[in-house]
């Protein structure tokens, strides 16, 4: 097939002879100009100027669009790969927006899980009530947005079981979390109902240690690490976009893997 961009009639090559010197000088000028603009382009990538607002809002708009694409790519029946218990990393890797020495342990006896939003039974929950629900264990890979990963073993009730138990509106759009370390987070309902989304209370068969979210934290196998809030104190089921700690700073909200 002939290129549609190629002209049907080409001019006589002889015309080039008349302009040879001109073409020559243009080449040289083009080289200098090309070199300069290439240099300028390289400078542009490293410019110290803060992101202009227009660029920032455009990037955020695309990120929201990508959240939609990610939701489409999410298969509620697709299970994350699981691993043998012998591969569990002990202790798990600590990561938060502060150092591990700054962790403020939560007292399990006085801890209550507050419920709000589109939930029928909003009475607060205790640790022993959570432990009385059917328990699920999974050995899955934790993948951080930074790029590192490790294999961890988690146990606790499925978030789906919990939501069904309290009569949550399972057709609502979001499940939002508040935590003891001021790390608000939220996930889509499809992920909340995924079988590998747990309200984890144990790691590697032992009660969660203080730095990793005792008494209860979210552990979902289908999202990046930062979508797994620790020390959960309140759960809300809502149709209003709740955002989250890192999401406010520019990270993707869906963050599915």
């Amino acid at each position: 097939m002939r290129s549609p961009f190629r002209p049907g009639v080409v001019p006589d090559a002889a015309i080039l002879d008349d302009h040879r010197s001109l073409v020559r000088s243009l080449e040289r000028r083009g080289l200098i100009r090309g070199g300069l603009s290439l240099g300028a382009l390289v400078m542009l990538t490293g410019c110290d100027v803060k992101r202009p607002e227009a660029v920032e809002s455009a990037l955020l708009a695309i990120s929201r669009l990508n959240d939609g694409v990610q939701a489409l790519l999410f298969d509620p029946d697709k299970l994350a790969p699981t691993y043998p218990a012998s591969m569990i990393l002990r202790p798990p890797k600590f990561n938060a927006y502060y150092d591990v020495t700054k962790v403020k342990p939560v007292d399990g006896a006085s801890w209550r899980l507050e419920l709000s939003g589109r939930i029928a039974d909003k009475r607060p929950w205790t640790v022993s009530q959570l432990n009385a629900l059917p328990q699920t264990s999974m050995v899955i890979k934790h993948i951080c947005v930074e790029g590192w990963s490790y294999i961890g073993g988690w146990t606790g009730p499925q978030l789906r079981t919990f939501l069904e138990h309290v009569g949550a509106d399972l057709r609502a759009r979001y499940v939002a979390f508040k935590t003891a370390d001021q790390y608000p987070s939220s996930i889509d309902m499809a992920t909340a109902l995924h079988p590998q989304t747990l309200l984890a209370t144990q790691y590697g068969g032992d009660t969660l240690a203080a730095p990793f979210g005792y008494p209860a934290r979210l552990r979902t196998a289908t999202k990046l690490g930062y979508k797994n809030p620790k020390w959960i104190t309140a759960i809300e089921v809502t149709n209003t976009y709740p955002g989250g700690f890192w999401e406010e700073k520019g990270f993707s909200w869906f963050a599915g893997i």
Partner: protein, 204 residues
């Protein structure tokens, strides 16, 4: 298409360096802020995931156009060993001026095919590390999440290596730059001092 790709590649590579710096693969090897697009990882990621659409759409358009018109096959094939050796020998004798810039030499063909394959590989490994659960089969095919991540890094290095050679040679043979900026020659220039025989640019 070339310049859209050039700009997008620059965005993908420099924003990729910003993402890389959050958790380096080679211990002690960082990219300074000058080389990173996005003032920290969140914005490097946003640039990367915006640029990917332009890269994929432009790349698909290029491949579909190139395959449908036969342009890719016409320009990049065949590669003969004898041509390859002659080009290498010529280059070592510093004879690198192209008499007809519409015809690629064997080394050019090999490098252009290589970089197209590297770009496709980047999309595949990129998809694997973006959605390692949804595409878990692909990830295990690539040897696991961390291996896929290293492959994505190696692919970047290959493309950067190509870009350095490609830009250096284009600057050495300025005729090609003008052709690219003006939309390309549709007709071969008469060989200087030759017997005036016209060289056919395209065997169309």
């Amino acid at each position: 298409m070339h310049w859209v790709n050039a700009a997008t590649m620059l965005v993908m590579i420099t924003s990729g360096w910003g993402i890389y710096d959050d958790d380096v693969i080679i211990r002690g090897f960082h990219f300074s802020s000058f080389w990173r697009l996005g003032d920290w990882a969140a914005w490097s990621l946003n640039w990367h995931f915006a640029g990917m659409w332009v890269l994929v759409i432009n790349g698909l358009a290029y491949l579909i156009y190139g395959l449908a018109t036969g342009r890719l096959r016409e320009r990049l094939l065949p590669i003969r060993m004898s041509d390859l050796i002659r080009t290498v020998v010529d280059t070592l004798h510093l004879k690198i001026a192209h008499e007809d810039i519409t015809v690629y030499n064997a080394v050019q063909k090999l490098l252009y095919i290589g970089v197209i394959l590297a770009a496709i590989a980047q999309v595949v490994t990129g998809l694997a590390i973006w959605k390692p659960v949804q595409f878990s089969g692909l990830v295990s095919l690539l040897g696991g999440f961390q291996t896929a991540r290293v492959l994505h890094f190696v692919g970047m290095a290959a493309i950067v290596g190509f870009v350095i050679v490609h830009v250096a040679l284009a600057l050495l043979v300025p005729k090609t730059l003008w052709a690219m900026l003006s939309g390309g020659p549709c007709l071969a220039v008469r060989g200087e001092g030759s017997e005036g025989q016209l060289q056919q640019g395209h065997p169309t």
